[in-house]
Symmetry: D3
Subunit: 112 residues, 6 copies
Amino acid sequence: MPNKKEFAKERERLNKLILDNSGIEIKRFFNLDTIIYKDGKLSARIKEMLGLVASLVLRCDDCIKYHLLQCKDRNLSTEEIQEIFSVGLIVGGSITIPHIRKAFEFWLDLND
Amino acid sequence: MPNKKEFAKERERLNKLILDNSGIEIKRFFNLDTIIYKDGKLSARIKEMLGLVASLVLRCDDCIKYHLLQCKDRNLSTEEIQEIFSVGLIVGGSITIPHIRKAFEFWLDLND
Amino acid sequence: MPNKKEFAKERERLNKLILDNSGIEIKRFFNLDTIIYKDGKLSARIKEMLGLVASLVLRCDDCIKYHLLQCKDRNLSTEEIQEIFSVGLIVGGSITIPHIRKAFEFWLDLND
Amino acid sequence: MPNKKEFAKERERLNKLILDNSGIEIKRFFNLDTIIYKDGKLSARIKEMLGLVASLVLRCDDCIKYHLLQCKDRNLSTEEIQEIFSVGLIVGGSITIPHIRKAFEFWLDLND
Amino acid sequence: MPNKKEFAKERERLNKLILDNSGIEIKRFFNLDTIIYKDGKLSARIKEMLGLVASLVLRCDDCIKYHLLQCKDRNLSTEEIQEIFSVGLIVGGSITIPHIRKAFEFWLDLND
Amino acid sequence: MPNKKEFAKERERLNKLILDNSGIEIKRFFNLDTIIYKDGKLSARIKEMLGLVASLVLRCDDCIKYHLLQCKDRNLSTEEIQEIFSVGLIVGGSITIPHIRKAFEFWLDLND
């Protein structure tokens, strides 16, 4: 799974770059961004699904990959991922297809 | 709940207008749009949550209202709705706030 | 067709408001915005179709109405309009449906 | 200026509705949303201009109105507002025009 | 034209990946996505133009390339393509320019 | 600063490609796009900030880089850039973070 490690490492490196050069506001945003996905009335598992479909309809490949990693850690099955993509596809239209293509490949790599 | 009834009635009236004047393609899209939210590996309940957060980050008031009605039928609590909004808010930013305002009001009306 | 007249009048009133309070740049943009839809290698008729589908996938009701008026002046049929909507719907997804609803109603009013 | 008062009052009413029904995350987001526009290396005046142009290219009428009110409090001139709109218009295209129309009207009302 | 062949091959490979791992809903969406661009009241040629401008204003490089390939197969001239880009540019604004740059290069490659 | 030079050179090469193959409309748009950022009531310095935040919330990496180069030429400090990013982040949400990551790296490279 080199794909996965590289992605996570590059993400971390750049996040550090931001935080080292940022004021308190950006740090607080990043912090809030972590807290919101924690277990609440809704489980972290469901919240990651929500983050994934939101990233898909907004068409952000990096965000999709990040949430796929989280979904993998929470043991989502390929069938579940595929149904999340279905909802994103019908809501967001064919313009999401190139992102679904890359997402599927990344997901299958994670499960190899 | 006049708000709810009116919304549903107007939606139905206009959908009929579309379908009466449409070819097979639009009819098939509408049909697919219904099927995708049915129970599969993921429950219809979770799929409605996905539809709601997708509608929120794409900032469509009508779509948000529609999914709130579905969420009401599937007995989501105000706490669950509020956590879905949190995810949408952090992903989509403050630009989603005016939509969250209207959505909260609509949701509370539904629960009166 | 009061709907049509009102829409056109309100649009004109507000455009005048902008131009009366604007510098040369906004005036030039508005001017360019008119020129681009004129007959070229592509007919004005086809360009209006392009403007309509672009407005639909970007989900701007006012822009959709404006291009529908232009399409009416260029004698597009309801079948043609409906096929333009099909393309917008498949590209842009179900999030465009509330706009298609209003657009269909406006178009049918124009043809009454 | 009834337009202005009504807008501010309605906004406040709905914000209260959200905060009364929200957990800590949404409250923290709202709080951060206030802090970010305060004087820093960049003045609050410039930050409001940034908020205005961001709202314009993302095409959110409510957000535009809110920032116009803030810009008024910071004594921006109509010429300055109009140049902010020019940048938003060139970046965001003609799809922003219906929003500029409403924004201009709201701004001129504020200055009556 | 290695650019063209590679693009088409990669697209096909990833579409197969999706379809091999998808349920009936995604397959039906893909099917509908093909049907909608076929000759109807509007010719397939015009529908491809619509797909192209929609992809441009939604700023999806892969979708733009796909529709450019279809436009090439339907013998659109560089002048026609350029006028489609003009409409997309005025509607979508300068934010579309980086996509127009890549699109023009891809198109000229196709015509070499 | 090879990063910077390469970016500027590639941008110029492709702009030339567009202009060599374009009619008067696209040329006029490009021209207007230059004029709008010139000193007016608002300084070119502030207008570049506006262009930067607009590019960030619309999530266009190329546009962000271009405006960062302009901001560098106008001597913006890292603190100022970071506050512009804060506004973009709160307005546009976490979906802008991958773009902020790349933007920060590009900016720091420019200042090495």
